[in-house]
């Protein structure tokens, strides 16, 4: 039941009132959040806290992609999955929690890993994407599909006591437009050798370290959506791209560094790059071989 001429229902004013009175949100920001759709790739250590705060804030549609099931070793950091949910699909477990937190949100379950074959079909339905995965293979794939479909991408990662955060492809201008924000390949044109890649399963991770990075992703998403920055405005140019570095044992623990703009010869986002929807989905780009991985890729 809408309240006459009021754009939100009474329950929504109550629920979101504390964030609506924050300067830069307001009623317009709240309506933008409600109208937005957001995809979280990975329901693990980053995806759990990110999803909680994004659902809490009232983003209208939230999709979650993950093919894994909940394990006991996840629980110290993947705080939406309770002990009783060990063995359950992570996406189902997360959505059960999130729906009980905020029933106003529409949740969409994608109970599979993101792949070159399903990436377009899944990602095209959303306005903005959060990379909460655990492997360079998925990081290149997600960045590529976001460039091709013009979606801003909020990417975070964590290992042991360190974390990293970047907002990519923002504004999400077409490939070849130097006013768009850099993509993952602009920053990291060549994938790391397989033997240098360490997962949280192998290297270990402190729960709050990955938690902080996930909550920071939620914050960047809410800022982007509330400010109306899901698409580029007329004549908009990317601001200075930056990466936030976190080291739990350093002093100071946080450090922001300036990144480059779009790379003129980027494989993904430049005019001469050669990345196309067809080459991506046909499997002609072998993301697994590309990163030199021989064992099956697991999005943790």
């Amino acid at each position: 039941v809408t309240q006459g001429n009021w754009p939100l229902e009474l329950e929504e004013y109550k629920r979101y009132g504390r964030q609506m009175i924050v300067p830069n949100v307001g009623i317009q920001g709240q309506l933008r959040l409600k109208a937005a759709s957001l995809l979280i790739v990975g329901a693990g250590g980053l995806g759990c806290p990110a999803a909680a705060y994004i659902a809490g804030a009232g983003v209208g549609t939230i999709g979650i992609v993950d093919g894994d099931i909940v394990e006991t070793s996840n629980l110290h950091r993947q705080i939406l999955h309770s002990t009783a949910k060990v063995g359950m699909k992570k996406v189902e477990s997360a959505i059960e929690f999130l729906a009980s937190l905020n029933p106003n949100v529409r949740f969409i379950a994608h109970n599979e890993h993101l792949s070159p074959q399903n990436a377009k079909e899944i990602v095209e339905n959303y306005d903005v994407v959060l990379d909460c995965t655990d492997h360079p293979t998925s990081r290149y794939l997600i960045s590529d599909i976001c460039v091709l479909l013009h979606k801003p991408l909020i990417s975070a990662s964590a290992l042991r006591t360190d974390g990293q955060l970047i907002v990519l492809n923002s504004p999400p201008l077409p490939h070849g437009d130097p006013s768009g924000g850099p993509c993952y390949r602009c920053v990291f044109p060549k994938p790391p050798p397989a033997e240098s890649v360490v997962s949280c399963g192998d290297g270990g991770i402190l729960g709050p370290v990955v938690g902080i990075m996930g909550v920071l992703q939620a914050l960047e998403a809410i800022k982007l959506i509330a400010a109306g920055k899901l698409t580029a405005r007329e004549g908009e140019k990317a601001g200075e791209a930056s990466m936030l570095l976190f080291s739990a044992n350093s002093n100071p623990p946080f450090r922001s560094v300036r990144l480059r703009a779009r790379r003129q010869k980027c494989f993904a986002c430049s005019k001469e790059g050669g990345l196309t929807l067809e080459s991506l989905s046909s499997g002609s780009l072998d993301y697994v071989l590309f990163c030199g991985v021989t064992t099956p890729v697991k999005i943790l």
């Binding site: 990975g42 693990g44 360079p136 920053v187 990955v210 560094v257 300036r258």
Partner: protein, 107 residues
């Protein structure tokens, strides 16, 4: 005379790279102002120096691969991507901060 001039710089490692450098994140170094040819010392020179002199770990290929900083390592000169500053050819200035970040992938 000039060849004995040195430049004080700070070199930092994070994202796990510190494990290749005695577990220390922050290193205060004095580097010669000129290389053996009398040219100003660059970040490229520093990378070779770190690999040859400062690194105790045997896994050189975790830092330098095919003569370049290995893919997946970001080099920052005074907190800016070195590609903004001329990459390996950037001439070191006194009190420069050179940060090597290994990209993380965990989540």
């Amino acid at each position: 005379m000039a060849s004995e001039e040195t430049i004080p710089i700070i070199v930092e490692f994070t994202g796990g790279l510190e494990m290749l450098f005695s577990g220390e994140r922050k290193h205060r170094l004095s580097v010669p102002a000129k290389d053996s040819k009398g040219d100003a010392v660059t970040v490229g020179w520093l990378v070779d120096y770190l690999c040859d002199e400062a690194m105790k770990d045997n896994r050189k290929e975790m830092f330098v691969l095919d003569g370049h900083v290995r893919p997946g390592i970001l080099v920052l000169i005074n907190d800016a991507d070195w590609e903004l500053e001329g990459e390996a050819s950037y001439a070191l200035q006194p009190n420069d901060n050179i940060l090597f970040v290994s990209t993380l992938h965990g989540g």
